[in-house]
Amino acid sequence: MDTILQILASGLTLGAMYAISTAGLALVFGAMNMLNMSHGAILALGGYLSYFAVGGMGLPAPVGVVFAVLVCAAVGVLIYQIVARPMLRSANFETRIFIATIGVGVILESIILETFGPQPKPQPVSMPGSLTLAGVHLPYQNLMILGIAMLLMAALGFALQKTRIGRAIRATAQNRDAAQLMGVPIGYVYALVLAISGGLAAVSGITISSLSSLLPNMGADPMLKAFIICVVAGLGSLPGSVMAALFIGVLEAIVQYVFGVRFSFALLLILVIIVLIGRPQGVFGRVQGVRL
């Protein structure tokens, strides 16, 4: 019983971390059909910026986190202005932006590697200590990650459903041309969506590195997992992807316990392959009519 609860607890922590990075990806894909392959590098950048601000400059942890979030949001806006905007109306936008962001990701990752070196670094933003509840060992760090994830997802959900700009984002996602005709400044919406995605990636990078350590290529695995979750949920579906993130986190914890760590990722990938073949629009995705 204790083992099951323990697996559930660590699975939910994993899922919460995945949810943060997945939400950003899903938001961008939903709003502008853009698969951002540089998401992993932005995630690593966020982790390193907090390391730089807190560990290097000696700033208090919350300031470091805010600094990392702001810079990564700015990177998102830059990607929109420099890379996405010139090709927004072109025929093969989905494929071209995919390739271009691969390039952006490599550039960012190499810059991190040049600046901070290849050795693993510890993440200074973390909370020591733990709590034992009903025989389950719960580090404060995990609880905090869970809390932050829930808070962020709730805030994002509220912003999308209830605010004016949230309505603009949803309208743009539904039909870009109609939204523009109704006076939605879609360029602004796109830049904002990429900024939110960048900020979420930074938070995700900080939380992930606080449980392991900082490496220049640390973003690759979480990004691939975020893609898996997006695909399982149906690309672009935000509530679906949060649910799928939690599900995948728990599943991964179970697989790790039963089969061992080294098979967990491969099994997850096989899961996504099966989902893609059987239900290409994802579990929560709507079947989209083909537009000709």
């Binding site: 420099i82 490599v106 392959i273």
Partner: protein, 340 residues
Amino acid sequence: MTARQRDITLCLLFSGLAALLPLVSDVRYTVTQTTFFFIWATVVVQWNLVFGIGGIFSLAQMALFAIGAYTTAMLGYYFGTSMILAMPIGALLAVLFSVALGLACLKLRGPYVALLTLCVAQVLYLTIVNDTDCFTNPPSGCMPLMGGVRGFSRFGDLGFRELLGSGFYVGRYYVGLAILTVAMIVSIIVIRSPMGLAFQALRDNPVYAAARGMDRFKYQLWIFGLSAFFTGLAGSFYAVNTGAVGPVVFSFSHLLFLLSMIIVGGVGTIWGPIVGALLLMFAEEAMRELGDMRDIGMGLILVVCVVLMPRGIVGLFEDLVRWRTARTAQAVPLPRRETV
């Protein structure tokens, strides 16, 4: 002369010129680097068939390449199969794998195909790297079934060392050139054939093409199988040429390098991939001194090319030619023949 005949003639002409290189240059480095150029060019020429002509953005090409390489290495290592036999077997296995993959992503479109194929490649990579159980225990140490992290070495050779002595690399040069030439001719035939037209039709107006009886299913499987053969063969030859195969063939920077070749040269054009491969080999040579900065350079090249010239250098050139002919046609109103 039809366009197809012209392109094949050009291709044979270039191959003939390339065949002269080992006779003119006795710098071993130049010859071996050009051999690598043949390998990468073969891969991107065939990738272009799937991505540029077929319009299917598959990222599994390096996995197919790896299947060819690994099959060849494992056959040689475990069974002592001669490399001349092992190479086509590797290529055929890649074809089988690719056709299965083609079936799997038939219903998917755009970036979903990229994700699926990326996942498949990643599964292969992880199974190889994470396998630490010893399959055999040679004196050199524990050897997992698929080589694990360190991969295979010393599994066989094409026999040029006995035949040509210290000039063995020249033998390999011609094998590489032969593979590229055949791959290029096949690519030209496919592009300048009813199949190429069918793909163009399926891309430009899927419903009309389907109404005219064009079977997406059939063409997609054909192109997956065909391109896999040469990609697998290039992988097999890579294994024989370097004499070592490891999980590094799956690496992302490899994929990026090859993808950049297609993008820089021109997606969906006949000569684009070759031009791109040539340019990027030179670019890599120029950036060799830069160390880690090389990746930044590669990334920049990729981003700039995707943003500024979506159809690559060859596409840009074609547009320029079209623009100039359009201008002269306007200035001198002569009856002009339709050329395609």
